[in-house]
Amino acid sequence: MDAGPPTITQLLVQWSNGDQQALDQLTPLVYDELRQMARTYLRRERPDHTLQATALVHEAYLRLVDQHSVSWQNRAHFFGIASQMMRRILVNHALARATAKRGGDAEKLSLDEAISLASQREVDLISLDEALNELETLDHKQTRIVELRFFGGLSIKETAEVLKLSPATVKREWETARLWLRRQIAK
């Protein structure tokens, strides 16, 4: 049994202990699984798929990781990488669908055009992504916090663990980032 490649669980524990190589090995494994799950999921066109995103991440965790041998900090780290992936998967999906509606002319499609073709839900997602991209230029830390909370469903405490910040800081950053995003989306 020990001869095989390290399991996702082992990689996760190693990475949490500071092994960056483990992360390189872990990322594609998790991404593949997530994308596959998301594909099945999104095909069903559930109108509420962003909140479901956190459920998906959660489910991926249940599928991939032996929960008997990890701590809650390991869990937070898993969610940390998965939430970023989830954001990309969902936004790509929304854009792809918008493109498909227009007839597959993917390269030439500007974001504005994409938005005009997407459904309300997708527009929201795309505009949130846009807003997050802008926030990224102002404040990287806050962007990560939003990803973890919104796409990963992490609690304040878990987010703090992943980013090595105090929960009070995370809370303050999250609240101010949220106001900024809301204003941006509402524009």
Binding site: R44, R46, Q67, S127, F150, E175, T176, R183
Partner: protein, 985 residues
């Protein structure tokens, strides 16, 4: 914005957020100093603090950014330990029993010590307490609480804690998990099978109640000291998982959150529809483990993915082979491994490996493997069949699961018969599939016959009713109906020469029609679809009656089809067609019902309905009062003779009382024959009174009584006998109060009470007793407000509240308290405007708004506030004209508009008469006043010409004509003045 600037803004913003709302302004002044731009930025961001802003609210993300916080706040007590839960609802927590994925389980007892019974309470983890889950929770709880079986732990109660965490209260079972029990008692294979059969009995019972367990595993089956197995957590998995719930509705979306991978079926892992076959599978895993001590698949770890791959891809080892192997299975926490050997597993079972192997080889291998098949359709069709096969094995009879060949043929057969179902829902799959398999020995025709019957009776009908109240179930209900119709249509085309089947088909179409749009029961509101289905049922029944003209039963069924078509047409207010179809039904029943009192009763019901259709006041009718009275008379005769023959049948007497009451109402309102109406009303009261006083006091009989008293009171009021009317009306109120005392939540009783007070108030007004009128109208208002407080969706009650304010306003106006009247009318306007804006197309709201503005304008006119009066009256005519344009036959509205226009003319001419206004404006006002009076006159004359103008308004046209003349005179005078002025210039 630069990153540096954002850091500054963020700093101030974060600090502002941490302060209380009162402190924020002064803090902001301090923090920003002269930096106005900084201050503006922070304020603009703060403006996004409150969700609910209509512009941004349309953006889902905007709200979701806030939704997380709510979850976070509720979750803050998640880490809290038992101390914070010394009490859950009315229960005192004794100790924690366990902790699971769903939440913690506590041992508790009722805090009031009323019963010393101990219970197990499952407190649901945060994140599971969304509105959606909570609503499901309430609905499902009722279904689960109805499961009453000796081997199922009962769901006793449920609710939510002060911080909104839902909990479930279950019977507390003292026992050990079934696998531990079997091993510690060293039960033989046969003893294990018998225990297992009891488990099957419980699961089958639940399936009959349309509850699937979804999470069968040893830790959910405890065996008590009395050796009785008890299943825990029935249906809980579904209850607590929104994904799973959605899954039953559109059966999509994988979710593993609440299942135990080791016992999960392939379809659960794939996220495919969960059916009763899912429980068959999990029971198979359980039996496998009980018999062998091994898991069906060799799994090396607790990693769910590996386990799932095995469940999907590997074939389980035969039980008789598995026990001969040695396996190291991972311990429950990943470290301490358990070593299974042939000796170790047989020592707690048959004693030695050979005996154990012999007990399993053959039948039991086949039985267990059949339950574990990957394809749900190839497993046992039901848990009962599974259990029956075990019984046959124990009785040394041949078992179904002997060979794959036969079983495979069976499943092929099942699939063949499902062609008609094409995209059938999982519900149809399970139940119909089960029925077909069970009946596989019978003839084909009979089988199909049963398919149809099953489909119509239990699948669509019962299941539909079971899910009808679930929020969001409409799409699946629609789909059920669509699929069922497809199925029926295909059967109808094949089975034209089988009369028995044809007859069942007609019934099935009728039932589907009911589900689509029978307003007497939970339905999909699809009256058009219902009509189509009813007509299909009618066509079949017509053909059947033609081939067997003497078959009474067929005629009765044909009558039923006509009746349903009539009902559907009545709901769409197609009274002409409804009348025709009802008469067809009556014609058939008159011949077929002789000597059959239940059909006679139906005949009377139909006659009664036609009577109402022809001319029951205040409802859509044919305006045929004579016909109405004729049909009601016929119904009354039948009901009288039925009641005489069965004096103890209270339903018949209730029917009779209702006949009398309807006749009284028709005579009073439609033919204005109050003298003829009174005896009927009194007869209705007397029958109802006798029912109530002879031990039949129920909400129903009281309701019949209060309605009869209400009718009598109205009648007496119309006849000018106000004192008598008030007396009866107060009795009616008393009856309604009794109804409410029996059942304080009875909505009908509250409505009756509210409308009774309104009637009493109106009678008092007629008697000139403004004070008591006011009191009754206020009582009615309070009652209606209580109704809406309990049920904010009750739109009708809001309409009544608006009417209450109108009545209260009138009562104030009667007592010359115009200021108070003004306030009430303003309230009425607000309420009706609210309703109108909510339902922009609704004509009723428009009419009420018009009426309320009219009253408001009239009162302002009386108070001399001409400008405000003008505004109100202009609103009133605007809405009144809208309503008349859409419903030109409404003469009551027409009269209201006529009065409003004359008030408008009055306001205009008084404004015109004011000397301080410029001449040109005054001239304009006179012109407008004249226009208003002219419109009023036209309307009044139209009403009078058609003979529908009531006494009190009869002279109105003449009065208005005089006003027009006055306007003309003023206009001539002004014309002269203006000309004179022009000439002088």
């Amino acid at each position: 914005m630069t990153p540096e600037r954002w850091q500054e803004i963020k700093l101030v913003l974060g600090a502002v957020l941490e302060r209380s709302p009162e402190e924020r302004a002064s803090f902001l002044n301090q923090a920003c100093g002269h930096d106005e731009l900084l201050r503006a930025e922070v304020e603009s961001l703060m403006a996004h603090k409150q969700p609910g802003d209509s512009v941004v609210n349309s953006l889902g993300m905007y709200q979701e950014l806030g939704a997380l916080d709510a979850a976070e706040q509720q979750g803050s007590d998640d880490e809290s330990t038992l101390e914070s839960y010394q009490r859950i609802g009315p229960y005192k927590v004794l100790r924690e029993l366990g902790h699971g994925g769903v939440g913690a389980v506590y041992l508790a007892a009722r805090a009031d010590d009323q019963y010393r019974q101990q219970v197990a309470i499952k407190l649901i983890r945060r994140g599971m307490d969304t509105d959606f889950v909570l609503r499901r929770f309430r609905n499902e709880r009722q279904i689960l609480a109805a499961l009453d079986h000796p081997n199922i732990a009962r769901l006793l109660d449920g609710g939510s804690t002060e911080n909104h965490r839902p909990y479930l209260v279950m019977e507390y079972i003292e026992g050990v998990p079934i696998d531990t029990y079997c091993d510690s008692h060293r039960l033989s294979t046969e003893e294990r099978l018998k225990l297992f059969q009891q488990v099957c009995g419980a699961v089958h019972y639940a399936h009959q109640h349309l509850v699937i367990h979804r999470d069968i595993k040893p830790s959910n089956i405890l065996v008590t000291k009395e050796s009785a197995p008890k299943l825990l957590d029935f249906g809980i998995a579904k209850l607590l998982s929104p994904e799973l719930a959605a899954q039953t509705l559109d059966h999509t979306g994988p979710s593993l959150r609440l299942m135990t991978p080791a016992y999960a079926s392939p379809e659960q892992i794939r996220g495919q529809p969960i059916t009763t076959a899912t429980d068959v599978y999990s029971l198979g895993v359980l039996l496998y483990e009980l018999l062998t001590g091994h898991h069906p698949y060799r799994v090396q770890s607790h990693v769910p993915l590996e386990l799932m791959q095995a469940v999907l891809g590997k074939e389980p080892t035969r039980p008789s082979t598995a026990i001969m192997t040695t396996e190291t299975s991972p311990g429950p926490d990943g470290s301490a491994s358990i070593r299974l050997t042939p000796e170790s597993v047989s020592s707690t079972r048959e004693g030695n490996p050979d005996r154990l192997r012999r007990s399993l080889r053959g039948d039991l291998d086949n039985i267990v493997l059949m339950a574990l098949r990957k394809d749900p359709q190839r497993r046992y069709a039901s848990v009962q069949q599974f259990s029956e096969d075990i019984r046959r094995h124990l009785a040394r009879l041949p078992v179904i699961a002997r060979g794959d060949g036969l079983a495979y043929r069976t499943s092929k057969f099942i699939r063949r018969n499902r062609v008609g179902v094409a995209a059938a829902t999982m519900i149809l799959f399970t139940l119909v599939g089960g029925i077909i398999a069970v009946n596989q020995q019978r003839r084909r025709a009979e089988r199909r016959f049963n398919d149809v019957r099953q489909l119509a009776h239990s699948v669509v009908f019962d299941y539909h009713d079971a899910i009808a109240d679930l929020p969001g179930s409409t799409p699946v209900r629609q789909r059920m109906v669509r699929d069922a119709l497809k199925y029926l249509d295909s059967l109808a085309s094949e089975a034209s020469n089988d009369q028995g089947l044809q007859r069942e088909l007609a019934t099935a179409y009728r039932k589907i029609g009911d589900v689509q749009g029978n307003s007497n029961m939970a339905n999909l509101g699809d009256t058009t679809g219902a009509l189509i289905s009813y007509r299909k049922s009618l066509a079949i029944r017509q053909a059947l009656t033609q081939s067997q003209p003497d078959n009474k039963e067929l005629q009765i069924e044909l009558a039923e089809s006509y009746e349903r078509i009539g009902d559907a047409q009545r709901t769409t207010a197609d009274v002409v067609e409804a009348d025709k179809n009802y008469q067809h039904a009556i014609g058939l029943l008159e011949k077929a019902s002789t000597g059959d009192s239940s059909q006679q009763r139906r005949l009377a019901d139909l006659l009664y309905r036609v009577g109402n259709l022809k001319g029951y006041p205040r409802t859509a009718n044919l305006g045929d009062t004579k016909g109405a009275l004729e049909f009601h008379g016929r119904a009354q005769v039948i009901r009288e003779s039925l009641s005489a023959a069965n004096p103890n049948d209270i339903n018949l007497r209730i029917d009779l009382a209702e006949s009398h009451r309807s006749i009284a109402n028709i005579l009073a309102a439609a033919s204005n024959d109050l003298t003829a109406a009174e005896p009927h009303a009194r007869q209705a009261v007397s029958i109802a009174q006798s029912l109530v006083s002879t031990n039949h006091t129920s909400a129903r009989t009281l309701r019949v009584l209060t309605e009869a008293q209400d009718a009598l009171a109205r009648l007496l009021m119309l006849n000018g006998q106000t004192t008598g009317a008030l007396e009866v009306c107060l009795k009616s109120l008393e009856t309604a109060e009794r109804m409410l005392a029996i059942d304080p939540k009875n909505m009908q009783a509250r409505q009756d009470l509210a409308s009774g007070h309104t009637l009493a108030g109106n009678i008092c007004t007629k008697m000139g007793d403004g004070k008591n009128a006011l009191r009754h109208h206020r009582e009615s208002l309070l009652m209606n407000q209580a109704i809406t407080a309990d049920d904010p969706t009750n739109e009708a009650a809001k309409v009544w509240i608006g009417q209450n304010y109108l009545n209260i306003g009138s009562a104030f106006a009667e007592t010359h308290n115009l200021q108070a009247a003004l306030g009430s009318y303003q309230q009425a306007v607000t309420i009706f405007e609210g309703l109108r804006q909510k339902k922009p197309g609704g004509i009723q709201a428009i009419q009420f708004v018009a009426r309320a503005y009219d009253k408001l304008g009239e009162t302002r006119l009386k108070l001399g506030d001409l400008k405000a009066a003008l505004e109100s009256l202009r609103h009133s005519v605007e809405f009144a004209e809208q309503s008349l344009a859409r419903d030109s036959a409404n003469d009551i509205m027409r009269r209201l508009v006529a009065v409003t226009y004359s008030n408008l003319g009055e306001v205009r001419s008084r404004l015109a008469a004011q000397r301080k206004a410029p001449e040109s404006e005054r001239n304009e006002q006179w012109l407008e006043a004249r226009k208003a009076y002219q419109r009023s006159l036209d309307l009044f004359l139209d009403l009078r010409d058609r003979g529908v103008l009531t006494k009190e308004f009869y002279d109105k046209p003449e009065q208005v004509t005089l006003k027009i003349a006055a306007c003309d005179a003023a206009l001539r005078h002004h014309g002269d003045t203006i000309q004179t002025q022009a000439g002088m210039r």
